[in-house]
């Protein structure tokens, strides 16, 4: 049961409470560049999820072998290898995605989210937990990018996943970098507000439950005394 809770916490942290895009503000470059459409956002998110999971697994498996003094160069070599393999794979198997990502595919190597999770989690935990952490953070990154992609594509191009739905109406500003920053800021504000409100309600509910138990215990104690 305790293990289930631990894994549940890893998932919840990665997707919601420590969402890498909206809470930790990591990986801003691909977030702003690849969210002009929902499809490209999804493609980037899935690529990062794959690299993050695999890099976490490999680095966790090698954590006892790699000396502390050279851990960063070793991590970067591993991450760069995985990105290169992914690049070769996409070029062969999914060329449209490869073309869509362009220069931002090799830039995944320097995505601070991947190196950050390797350093903060994978180097200190087992392989299975590190894999879960990679999947959770990758899923959180993907969800965040897709949300931004949907908003920017809807407002900037009047379409939803490539399907035109506003009959030609669009506000091109939201397809520009300036629009990306504004949408990003608003999404962070909304996300943080929702999470904090939910956490506050949860705390109030727990406090009331505890008060209810305390009062109930006291009433019973008083009865017994009487």
């Amino acid at each position: 049961m305790a293990e289930k809770n631990k894994y549940g916490k890893i998932f919840a942290d990665g997707i919601i409470f420590n969402n890498p895009t909206f809470m930790l503000v990591l990986g801003t470059c691909p977030t702003l560049a690849m969210t002009s459409s929902a499809i490209s956002a999804f493609g980037m998110g899935v690529s990062v999820l794959v690299i993050l999971t695999l890099s976490n697994i490999v680095i966790s498996a090698l954590r006892k072998v790699i000396p502390n003094a050279v851990r960063i160069p070793a991590y970067i070599v591993v991450i760069a290898t995985l990105v290169t393999v992914l690049k070769l794979f996409l070029d062969k198997v999914i060329p449209p995605l490869y073309d869509m990502m362009g220069t931002f595919l090799p830039l995944i190597v320097v995505n601070c989210l991947i190196l950050g999770r390797a350093e903060a989690f994978a180097s200190k935990h087992g392989v299975f937990e590190s894999a879960l952490d990679g999947i959770a953070n990758g899923a959180g990154f993907t969800v965040a990018l897709v949300i931004m992609g949907i908003i920017r594509e809807f407002l900037g191009a009047g379409s939803f996943f490539g399907i035109e739905i506003l009959g030609g109406f669009k506000i091109p500003f939201f397809s520009t970098p300036m629009g990306a920053f504004i949408v990003y800021g608003l999404c962070i504000a909304a996300f943080v507000a929702i999470i904090e409100t939910a956490q506050r309600h949860s705390r109030i509910k727990k406090t009331r439950m505890l008060d209810g138990v305390t009062l109930g215990d006291r009433a019973e104690t008083d009865k017994e005394a009487a």
Binding site: A33, S36, V65, V77, T84, K92, G102
Partner: protein
């Protein structure tokens, strides 16, 4: 430190681990490069599918020729030098510029790498704007021309093939269809017919007489695009009267 102490030290362990990781990763990358290799023919088919947006007609590779009519070896490419100032592009061998004027202008090179003519009579030229992109990188495009009797009539399509394995390709963010459509619209067609050249204006899209301008946010890379397209345009204008840009069924491929 003695040799024995060194081999037992943490420094040696660090170097050894890094070397082993690098060797293993290098081996994995080499194996994947062979496993996921994309041949030149496959790349060409992808480009043609993108250009024709559907069924690819029969075509023949007519080869690349010099001005004198000498056919170059496959894969070697022909360099075309272009001078550039704010008023436009000037092919070096057609430009009556003195030494001072040439020194004032920027000199660029377009490399014509491949020329294909299809059974419908359109001509595709693979052209590289060399060394003038972002960080001195290059840009490679396919340009599709509709040919007239003695001169090209218009550019039908331009696509970027910059993401090839050629390491000289410049990093390109997102040059969307809007950018490339600037080479194919009415103003661009007037430029092609009127003997003009393409010049990028980073601020706006305008049609100004014989010079058409295309908007983009990346100055160097869009200049490189113009060099590549102008190089292809120059080559077609030069070669078309010679009768070399003709589809032949013997050399045709479906």
């Amino acid at each position: 430190m003695k040799a024995k102490e060194f081999f037992k030290s943490n420094s040696f362990k660090c170097i050894l681990v890094l070397l082993i990781i690098t060797l293993v990763c290098g081996t994995i990358i080499a194996a994947c490069a062979v496993l996921f290799n994309v041949s030149d023919e496959e790349r060409l088919n992808r480009s043609l599918t993108k250009i024709y947006a559907g069924e690819v007609p029969a075509y023949s590779d007519v080869g690349v020729y010099t001005k004198a009519g000498e056919k170059l070896e496959a894969g070697s490419g022909r360099n075309i030098s272009l001078f550039h100032d704010k008023n436009g592009f000037y092919p070096e061998d057609e430009t009556e510029l003195n030494k001072d004027e040439k020194e004032r202008m920027s000199a660029y090179t377009a490399v014509i790498q491949q020329v294909i003519v299809d059974e419908r009579g359109t001509c595709l030229v693979k052209s590289k704007g060399k060394g003038c992109g972002f960080s001195g990188g290059s840009v490679t495009v396919w340009v599709q021309f509709t040919l007239g009797a003695s001169a090209p009539e218009r550019i039908d399509k331009v696509i970027n093939v910059g993401n090839e394995t050629d390491s000289s390709q410049t990093l390109i963010g997102q040059f969307g269809d809007d950018f490339f459509a600037g080479y194919c619209n009415e103003g661009a067609t007037a430029t092609v017919k009127g003997g003009g050249w393409f010049v990028t204006d980073k601020m706006s899209v305008e049609s100004d007489g014989n010079i058409d301008v295309v908007s983009s946010g990346a100055t160097y890379t869009s200049t490189a695009m113009d060099v590549a397209v102008n190089g292809a345009l120059y080559y077609v204008r030069e070669q078309l009267p010679s009768g070399r840009l003709v589809y032949t069924a013997e050399g045709g491929k479906a």
